[in-house]
Amino acid sequence: MQGVAVGRAVDLTMINGYTKLIDELEKMFDIKGQLHPRDKWEIVYTDDEGDMMLVGDDPWPEFCNIVRRIFICSSQDVKKMRPGTRRPMSSMEDEVTVLSFDSAEN
């Protein structure tokens, strides 16, 4: 997976919560069991205000409203990012575009 930057899309209207989202991401990138523990990978997202936040803190419906892009980053690379970074190093990370009613209209 490292070094492969393939854009994928996930339809949040088909997912009813964070557990299912992580299951879907694990399936999508063939990393079964590696995302849930949260030790090797960080799942972050950029929201409608352009901020990068950790996935999981918001109530699920609120998350669906504000999420624009999801990034799966290695925990080490997250530490290397400089503050003010709006996107992770795209050549190393996998990026997921989020499909929802709002983002589909953007």
């Binding site: 009813n16 919560g17 964070y18 557990t19 960080e42 972050v44 205000e49 352009g50 901020d51 990068m52 936040m53 950790l54 803190d57 918001d58 109530p59 699920w60 419906p61 609120e62 997250v78 990012m81 400089r82 503050p83 003010g84 970074t85």
Partner: protein
């Protein structure tokens, strides 16, 4: 009795109050006996202006908590939705956004969100921040403690950055829009380009 029958059939006086409240005005040829849970949802009545008294129904109706889609919600978030169901959509939306407040920390790219309703005071709030961000430091945040390398600031409704802790907790919860953990040796409030 059918095991699927709604519970409110056991409360005939409540059923009567629903039946009498302007059901006929929106009549589209269908007589609504109030037997369906769907007709008692508050949002169905808002557009027409008819309000249904929900007294006595709160214990009988399946509120959104039972909806599988809502099971992932923080409990307090569910209560907030139930309490605000009579407000304008805009007001509800803005209030919900402020209950979950963004927290950023100097030197850390990924921000977190905290629910202000989870806490009843500054000390439990500081503990959650310690839990979220403490690992980014050598000796912990130790917010509000003397000798700590960090201080906590917040952006209020007027878009001013202020020090956390000066006002009573409840006042703080009402006006906080955003939070930032800053290193004390950097002294100034976050007005650099890295901060929104």
């Amino acid at each position: 009795m059918d095991s699927n029958a709604p519970g409110f059939l056991l409360n005939p006086s409540a059923l009567h109050s629903v039946y009498c409240q302007g059901q006929g005005k929106e009549d589209n040829g269908i007589i609504d006996l109030g037997l369906s849970l769907r007709t008692l949802q508050p949002e169905d009545y808002h557009p027409s202006g008819h309000t249904v008294s929900l007294e006595g129904y709160n214990d009988l109706i399946a509120w959104p908590q039972d909806n599988p889609e809502m099971k992932n919600l923080n409990t307090r978030y569910s209560k907030l939705v139930a309490e605000d169901c009579d407000e304008e959509a805009e007001g509800v939306q803005s209030k919900e956004r402020w209950v979950y407040v963004k927290v950023n920390m100097d030197g850390v790219v990924v921000g977190r969100k905290v629910c202000m309703l989870d806490h009843d005071g500054y000390s439990s709030f500081a503990m959650q921040l310690e839990d979220m961000f403490g690992r980014q430091t050598k000796s912990g945040l130790r917010l509000f403690q003397s000798g700590s390398e960090f201080s906590l600031v917040y952006k209020d409704r007027e878009e001013n950055w202020r020090t956390v802790g000066d006002v009573p907790w409840r006042d703080f919860v009402e006006c906080v829009k955003r939070l930032r953990i800053v290193r004390k040796d950097e002294a100034n409030y976050p007005c650099s380009s890295s901060v929104n």
